[in-house]
Symmetry: C2
Subunit: 556 residues, 2 copies
């Protein structure tokens, strides 16, 4: 069995089309302030049976055949894509921060399963007719299925959404990721029980075994193997061709780990994610290596996966309003309220808790995979399957705007940046640049230029604000209600007496409200934290325009 | 039809194993002076039916099943791999240089088909028994098959070998690539005729149509579309997310072009190669984009393709000494002598012509694909098939050592570099650094330190040798029989009065024989040409050790 010449043509055309529409819709959604991943999922619905398949069924069946070698080859790529996406996401996770958020993550993750699972289980067990199920003998399996289908968050969608919003590496981001990981572990365990009940448990392990292997493996990788990697990496980078050697090393470990978790009955992506965390934690891993992997995978592989979700079914013909509405309402309430309560218990404020709730609300591939299996084994009808996919899409699509809404009030660095407040300057004098920044910011905020200028200069004269890695942060506390920042980029560099002796080439003017001491400190730390890696700061210096600068700063 | 959980486990394990052995053998072969690609092919033989499959047949059949979804999924990846490899190779081709070598490439490519084709055709037509063919009615098809099987060079293997040897971007490199492209166009055309004769012509085009479409498409892409790309690229880089937008653009165009050439009956890799050339020719394409694509593809995808070749057959049980010997001798003589004569006609000297001959000698995937089809359709027996694969491997494996041997005499920059003659220095004075370099080189070559030092300083005092981009080339013509070069790397920089005002941080001391004016000029130009791109030079400055410096310099 291998691909014929005709298969290869179809295969290449379908991949090209998927990449093209993913990019097109991804960029369009970006332009309207949505994360690219939403555009990529929508691209799949357009390319799938719903739109393209309805309008041009012959062409659709030719390009995306359901029953031949091309489908299998695409399936292979899509599987690699999602495994690699989680590997890359893992590389970016800072384990120490996740540990710090442990309690919040645990409460959020646990409540994010208990509430939606209870809702789904109860509804399905006591009102099966509501969801179109007539056969009483399958009630228990069906109820478990509905419970879990409402509970499993989609780690890849969540991670990509957080990255697209630029908050992946923030406190909220880590809480969500850690909670989603916890949620997934539990979800997959129940998932494996259901697979056994509906007769597709072919990995030969029972629930206890899966649980024990999973915990043992996770601990082994994150505690022991992480240290081994940290020891082996310098040797690889020194003795093997760079970056080829380390690229291979990362991918091989990721694939092996994925194969193992798939083998013990948990999805492959969990293994590559865990291994990604263990590798990314090493201090020896170079930015260049990460960048090559990340750019290629997030731009080529990931879109293929997200597009593929929409290729599965026709969302119009299989649409049943009642079922969709019930599942959607239960899914939203269960997850947002469950996670929100968990986060609130752990001490987050109301807005942050809701942001976490909506962040956790994305459902995706797991629901669809589970749905396909349940559908094949006669546990659910096509309309329930479609409702699940629609629920997965709407929860994923709505996650970013809700999060943005609830995080808007949060005074973090990224929220107060504005392209209008960034300037490229040639002035070489400290006072001139501060003057420029103050006049820019005061024009924008309608404040008194002179007063602010004097405050900033006074502060600057008492202790110069040059930090390191080309950064300076002149600042003052003034009569404003919200913090504001203006940024100057200077190619030559200006002497702010930075501790490392560098001339400052990126100057943040930070103004904070008079009565909020701790906010000034927090924002100063936010900025300094962005400038830890000199090499990345040098890339910032090459920003083409203010928007480019902000997007680069978000990635730091 | 889609991958089961068990399929995914097998798929991941087989890819991991392929990557691991490819890297292991690739690095080992690198260490003994062979190009990595040879190691990757050998890795395939070890992993394939020959070694692993013989020793552990059960495990082998489990990991590399011949007849299920995993095989198809792997086939999909391998096809993408070779298409992407040729896309990347295309990006690196400098069209103007290839044009300049047009006549030599044409003569070499044409003779590289005529001679081996005649040998193969004659032997098969008049002595079919020798090759185990008894059925007279298939004589013509068989003779055509043998002719073409001896004639088609393996562009991917050739390109990778040239890259591994660091001569891809030299005059010889371009002659070989241009000739191989010409060779491939003609070879694939005849190939498509044979496919028609043995009944697998399923693209529905006859020979003339294929020919016309191919020429029209090639001209369209390289003449018109190339200009369109050059216009569109700046827009993409400005308006879309970078480097995501341009990465997608390159891959989509490559895949579409590959699909088109596959459709007209020429192999897909030809289309991606042509498109790669058209894209790479644009002045707007950024180094960073190229690097991300190149590193990921040459380190991850390409090894998967090269390993896959060896997975096809058992090379021991199907080994027939007589047939192997006949095919091997005809293949070597036909190709090396044919191409050698072509290159010699075009004016190359004897050693260079032989280097071109051996450079063109690599056979590979096309022979194997053609062989598989011919085998399936009963045109050849298993032993002829195995002989063809062995021929492909031995010609590929022997290409690099023979080329190295015949190019050894060639006095080019890369041949005279030696890790022993590179030093990392802290001296800040021009004379001190020159003194250091002279004493290093005179110790190595057993020359008089003082005499050389005076000659170099005298030249330096008349015209300073600082060039630009941190480069300086103090030089002299002295009493030696062969040119020599010593290199100093200096972090701070030394004033050699470079035209761009930079301090020189990489200092080449170049000594050439007194009687060879033009050689000194050639080597000076060779060095200066390597330092055209400031960003790449900055990477050179970060070399970890002399070997790393040489390997980075080779890539420039």
């Amino acid at each position: 069995m291998q691909l014929t010449s005709q298969n290869i043509i179809t295969f290449l055309l379908s991949i090209s089309l998927m990449l093209f529409f993913a990019k097109l819709l991804g960029e369009l959604f970006n332009k309207i302030g949505q994360p690219a991943v939403v555009g990529e999922i929508v691209a799949g619905i357009i390319l799938g049976p719903t739109v393209f398949g309805s309008l041009l069924p012959y062409a659709f069946n030719w390009l995306f055949p359901q029953n031949n070698e091309v489908k299998v080859a695409l399936d292979g790529i899509v599987n690699l894509a999602v495994i690699l996406l989680l590997l890359v996401s893992g590389l970016e996770v800072d384990l120490s921060v996740v540990m710090k958020e442990g309690k919040t993550a645990f409460l959020t993750g646990a409540m994010g399963i208990i509430v939606p699972f209870s809702l789904g289980f109860t509804a399905a067990y006591f009102f099966p007719n509501l969801l179109g199920i007539k056969d009483d003998s399958m009630k228990l399996a069906f109820a478990l299925f509905m419970g879990i289908a409402l509970s499993i968050s989609a780690l890849p969608v969540i991670v990509k959404t957080l990255m697209d919003l630029g908050i992946f590496k923030t406190e909220i981001g880590f809480i969500i990721v850690a909670a989603a990981m916890f949620n997934d572990i539990v979800g997959w365990l129940i998932f494996s029980v259901i697979l056994g009940m509906i007769g597709v448990n072919n990995h030969g392990l029972n629930f206890q075994q899966t649980l024990i292997y999973l915990i043992a493996f996770t601990l082994f990788v994150l505690v022991i193997f992480r240290k081994i990697i940290n020891k082996v990496l310098p040797w690889i980078q020194k003795n093997l061709n760079f970056p080829g050697g380390v690229l291979n090393f990362i991918l091989i470990l990721g694939f092996l780990s994925a194969a193992f978790t798939e083998y013990i009955g948990v999805h492959a992506i969990f293994g590559s994610f865990i291994m990604g965390i263990a590798i990314g934690d090493s201090v020896h891993i170079k930015e260049k290596t990460k960048e090559i992997i990340q750019q290629f995978i997030t731009n080529i592989f990931a879109p293929l996966f997200f597009v593929s979700i929409g290729l599965t079914v026709n969302f119009i013909t299989n649409f049943n309003f009642l079922i969709v509405a019930v599942i959607l309402i239960f899914a939203f309430f269960g997850k947002v309220i469950g996670c929100g309560i968990g986060a609130r218990f752990a001490g987050l404020n109301k807005n942050d808790s809701l942001a976490v709730g909506f962040g956790m609300n994305s459902r995706g591939a797991m629901e669809i995979i589970l749905g396909i299996l349940a559908f094949q084994y006669g546990l659910i009808h096509a309309d329930v399957f479609v409702a699940l996919v629609i629920m997965a899409l709407i929860t994923s699509v709505s996650s970013a705007p809700f999060m943005k809404y609830f995080l808007k009030e949060r005074e973090n660095l990224l929220n107060i940046l504005s392209p209008n407040l960034i300037l490229f300057t040639n002035f070489a004098g400290k006072n001139e640049v501060i003057g420029e920044l103050v006049s820019l910011i005061s024009k924008n905020l309608k404040l008194s230029t002179e007063k602010i200028y004097n405050e900033v200069i006074e502060r600057e004269n008492s202790i110069p604000t040059g930090i390191a890695n080309y950064l300076a942060i002149p600042h003052a506390r003034v009569d404003i209600s919200k913090p504001a920042v203006a940024i100057a980029l200077n190619k030559e560099g200006i002497n702010f007496e930075a501790s490392d002796g560098t001339l400052s080439r990126i100057i943040f003017l930070l103004l904070t409200p008079k009565n909020k001491n701790e906010l000034q400190l927090k924002l100063l730390v936010d900025i300094v934290n962005k400038f830890k890696d000199k090499q990345k700061v040098e890339e910032l210096l090459h920003s083409l325009n203010p928007a480019d600068f902000i997007s680069k700063l978000k990635q730091l």
